[in-house]
């Protein structure tokens, strides 16, 4: 079962209060494990979630223990969620597959859960149940990553601009980015390029404003009259002036391209009305994107992302069903089947021992072995059909048949 808070259920203040420092996780998970009714525990604590995955013999006692953990840290019931059984499995799978993240598809969460798991394991707090759950969750997450495009796709205009620039120039280190005008959005796009190592140049009609911006962002300032020269030396141009006409005409860019000797030029026009003559985009080695183009790419990223998200949810559902069925088979019918076989074997063994001591005393060692093998084969054969039926009952959750079997085979009253 899982009890926890995340970015949707709890305020950031509460999450801050609950946060467990990475070096304190081991101690905290030991603390949870020591609570009444908890047999196994894993504590996942990131900036967006604090969750206790716990297993025990009685769900209610485990739940009370986990609630006590959160209550001791000041979380009230309303901000906490709680899942049991199949829902808890689904939750664990969705968290690992990054479907429950603030930014769906972000890759860190899987690593964080893995880390939490290995800390809990090292602390001796993980047993068979959570170990199976977590390994299956990691497998499901891997499937989601490889089979869906959930981890790719674009997020913002600025990141699309940076992605395009990298697709044209590769490494942006040492490339020069020219911002024409002083629009906020242009600066945002330019900044994301600068983060990738590009150098910034600012040209503005008001030189004072260009200087101020250049100083603020760590670039060089240029008067508007330098434009021709700048076009020859910069590789990316982000345009956002308040001008009504074209600031970059086709002729201007064409002559710049001649001087650039064919080196690619990436122009981003983020203004409405446009500042760059659309025909500039027809020139060889010039890549012109306006705001619509960029937003289109962002939107496509979003669309493929929501499709990918659906596919990911489907994979998770499939894996959850598979896991729950396997668990039921193991846990549901497993103990009953084992007890029945144990009972038959014990009875056969007792009879054999008695016979070997009395009437079959004369048998030699290898003859005794043969008789034992025959009895073992007989037991297996007799129990084959009941075993299969019970396994099926376990996986389909047919508790009535399980308890009937316990009565018939004399397990219910704990007989001899």
């Amino acid at each position: 079962m899982v009890v926890g808070v995340n970015h949707r259920s709890a305020s950031v203040e509460l999450r801050e209060r609950l946060a467990v420092a990475s070096d304190a996780i081991e101690e905290a998970v030991r603390g949870v494990r020591a609570l009444d009714g908890v047999r196994e525990a894993v504590l996942v604590a990131t900036c967006n979630r604090v969750e206790v995955y716990a297993a025990g013999d009685d769900d209610d006692r485990v739940a009370r223990a986990a609630q006590a953990f959160f209550a001791s840290r000041g979380a009230d019931d309303a901000q906490r969620y709680e899942h049991r059984g199949g829902d808890a499995v689904r939750h664990a799978f969705r968290v690992c597959a990054s479907l429950d993240s603030m930014v769906v598809g972000e890759p860190q969460i899987l690593g964080q859960v893995k880390e939490a798991y290995s800390v809990a394991k090292a602390a001796g707090c993980v047993g068979a149940s959570l170990s199976r759950l977590m390994s299956h969750a990691f497998l499901a997450a891997k499937r989601v990553r490889t089979e869906t495009g959930i981890a790719s796709g674009q997020v913002s205009v600025a990141s699309v601009a940076a992605d395009l620039a990298r697709g044209i120039f590769g490494d942006l280190k040492g490339r020069r980015v020219l911002v024409v005008g002083a629009g906020k959005m242009a600066l945002g796009a330019a900044r994301s390029l600068v983060r990738h190592g590009a150098q910034l140049a600012v040209a503005n009609r008001s030189f004072a404003r260009a200087e101020a911006l250049a100083k603020e962002q760590g670039g060089t300032a240029h008067p508007f009259s330098d434009l021709t020269m700048l076009l020859q030396h910069c590789d990316v141009v982000v345009c956002s002036t308040g001008a009504q006409g074209y600031v970059l005409s086709r002729d201007l860019v064409q002559s710049a391209m001649r001087a650039r000797r064919g080196r690619s030029l990436f122009i981003i026009d983020i203004t409405v009305p446009r500042n760059v003559d659309p025909r500039v985009g027809d020139l060889d080695s010039v890549y012109l994107y306006d705001l619509d183009d960029l937003e289109q790419i962002v939107a496509e990223g979003g669309r493929t992302r929501s499709e990918a998200r659906q596919a990911a949810e489907d994979i998770v559902s499939e894996e959850v069903v598979g896991f729950v069925r396997a668990e039921r088979e193991k846990v549901g019918a497993g103990p009953t089947i084992a007890a029945i076989r144990q009972r038959y074997r014990a009875a056969a063994q007792a009879e054999l021992e008695r016979s070997f001591a009395q009437r079959l005393k004369h048998l030699k060692e290898d003859e005794r072995k043969a008789v034992e093998a025959m009895i073992e084969a007989y037991t297996n054969k007799v129990l084959h059909a009941p075993t299969m039926a019970l396994r099926a009952a376990g996986s389909s959750g047919d508790d009535a048949l399980l308890s009937a079997a316990q009565t018939i085979f004399g397990l219910a009253e704990g007989g001899s």
Partner: protein, 186 residues
């Protein structure tokens, strides 16, 4: 050929180019097998030099052509403003342009040597007119690749134009090779 491509594409984000180089390498392997079946003609150092140089040139041009084709694909994606799977898998335009250029620059001297050695071989063998048209096309190949290099340096014909030129040169080179092998078969 794959060996020629690996040091050239050591840079990051060049994985997708392998998709172009690998099938070409396979073709070359098959071709070289076919060629070795026909061995036994009178040889000598000049012939070895001719064959060796032409092989090096072919390998370099193959990688250059693969890069050029990938460049054109990537360029089309960027011009059409689609960032599909191709865009994500291929290296950047600049990287492909640079490595295509380097491969042509490596292949051209090798081809020059190969052609000169070939002229000596055919003069010595004095076998008459057989293969004459291949010699002219081979000179054409040389001219095209030389033009790709010269125009790039002198007139800044990079990118698209360079890529088209490289593919054109490679198509001619394939014609020569095809003629050579067909002549052996027919």
């Amino acid at each position: 050929m794959v060996g020629a491509s690996s040091p050239c594409t050591g840079a990051r984000r060049t994985g997708g180019v392998g998709a172009f180089v690998a099938p070409l390498a396979l073709l070359a392997l098959l071709a070289s097998r076919a060629a070795s079946d026909r061995e036994g003609a009178p040889g000598g150092a000049l012939l070895a030099m001719h064959v060796g140089s032409v092989l090096v040139a072919t390998a370099a041009f193959t990688v250059a052509a693969a890069m050029a084709a990938a460049y054109l694909l990537q360029e089309r994606e960027l011009k059409q403003k689609r960032l599909g799977g191709i865009f994500r898998r291929l290296p950047s335009l600049e990287v492909m342009d640079t490595y295509s250029f380097r491969c042509v620059a490596l292949g051209l001297p090798a081809l020059t040597l190969g052609i000169v050695a070939g002229l000596f071989v055919s003069a010595r063998a004095a076998t008459g007119a057989t293969g004459a048209w291949q010699q002219y096309v081979a000179l054409g190949v040389w001219a095209v690749f030389a033009a790709v290099l010269v125009l790039r340096v002198v007139a800044g014909w990079r990118g698209r134009r360079g890529a088209i030129g490289t593919l054109l040169g490679y198509a001619c080179a394939l014609t020569v090779l095809a003629g050579y092998f067909l002549r052996g078969v027919v």
